[in-house]
Symmetry: C2
Subunit: 234 residues, 2 copies
Amino acid sequence: MKKYQKEDTTSYTLGAFPTIELIKNKPESVAWVYLSSKLNNPEEIIKLCEANNLPYEVSDKNIGKLSDKENVYVVGVFKKYEDTLTEGHHVVLVSPANMGNVGTIIRTVLGFGIENLAVIKPAADIFDPKVVRASMGALFQMKIAYYESFADYQKAFPEHLLYPFMLQTEHYLDEMKFPKKPSSLIFGPESSGLDDSYLTVGTPIKIRQSSKIDSFNLQVSVSVACYEFMKNKK
Amino acid sequence: MKKYQKEDTTSYTLGAFPTIELIKNKPESVAWVYLSSKLNNPEEIIKLCEANNLPYEVSDKNIGKLSDKENVYVVGVFKKYEDTLTEGHHVVLVSPANMGNVGTIIRTVLGFGIENLAVIKPAADIFDPKVVRASMGALFQMKIAYYESFADYQKAFPEHLLYPFMLQTEHYLDEMKFPKKPSSLIFGPESSGLDDSYLTVGTPIKIRQSSKIDSFNLQVSVSVACYEFMKNKK
């Protein structure tokens, strides 16, 4: 038992909520569940473990080794897995760096009803416990796949309509009509956004903004883009 | 010179970017500007100080006292002020608690072209250097006022159309038509949202979401609400 490192083949859910989402959505990936002796009402988690034939153990020592935080009473140990994206709509994050950000974005994207996320390398490690925690377990309800390059992603989904979000265009989101075809909403790194090479990818779009700020942050851009895109698709 | 406390009548901008926004937008509130001996190109800030008759001083000692962070090379000392909101559209935050959140939201709201922010107490301290920093100086371009209660706010702007954002309603944002009248978009605390008492305030609205998440976070809700509300107003 040791703290998570990127090279590990297993990772951890820290807290009851993400652990429950893990067990419900990816039971085949769970290796072990640790409970703290301080956990109130352990029955829900124990019942869930037993229903899925998962080993669990009350072990304050192991929980202490895996988590820095005082208030973590449940830890799930899971084997990292790879998803295959399906043909629905996708969000594509190009080289996101901030793990808390990625977790929050995963949760937001799922909330708007998009269930496929492509991540273009280099990128933050999706399985880092910080991402899992920030996503509040939404990670396990989303299909997520890494690609070595945007070209690789494009080859895998040649029929998708592509919409890179970037400032270097005059197509505004609030004037767009989106055809009802499988589509990919593409966003650049937090600090710099998408570079000019994406100007020739599909239909670049920008979110209308006041000149009083430089740009919206990544979470705001993804939220507004997903909202507007999904609006007439329910 | 000492670290900021809520009771202080002055606060600080930590970093060149927010200090420049402070001087450009609220020169009358600036008491003093400190520069680090490590600052590259101090000319821009010095010129700005001189143009506004503001005292400045190279003082690594004072900067070290006011900031924990290594990479802060400019600090602005400013007198806390009170704005009066104008008759345009408002965002109203009811008891926000997280200072980084409030800073990011201020920047986002300004980006969508809304320039008045009402904050209902109890609430995070808008002038805390953490808020100023997270807002990247957007704070100084926004009119911000505190109110003791929502009733006080409502008394001050009796003509405003009121839109509380909350889950306990069946009016969806994506079906709304907003009349072109001065309006207030109202949001609850990060953890709990607006309570049921807001169901009788104006027209409650919710953002359509998948059942796979409990709710969007505050920043996502404010972003999407401001985007949709401002869409046909430019």
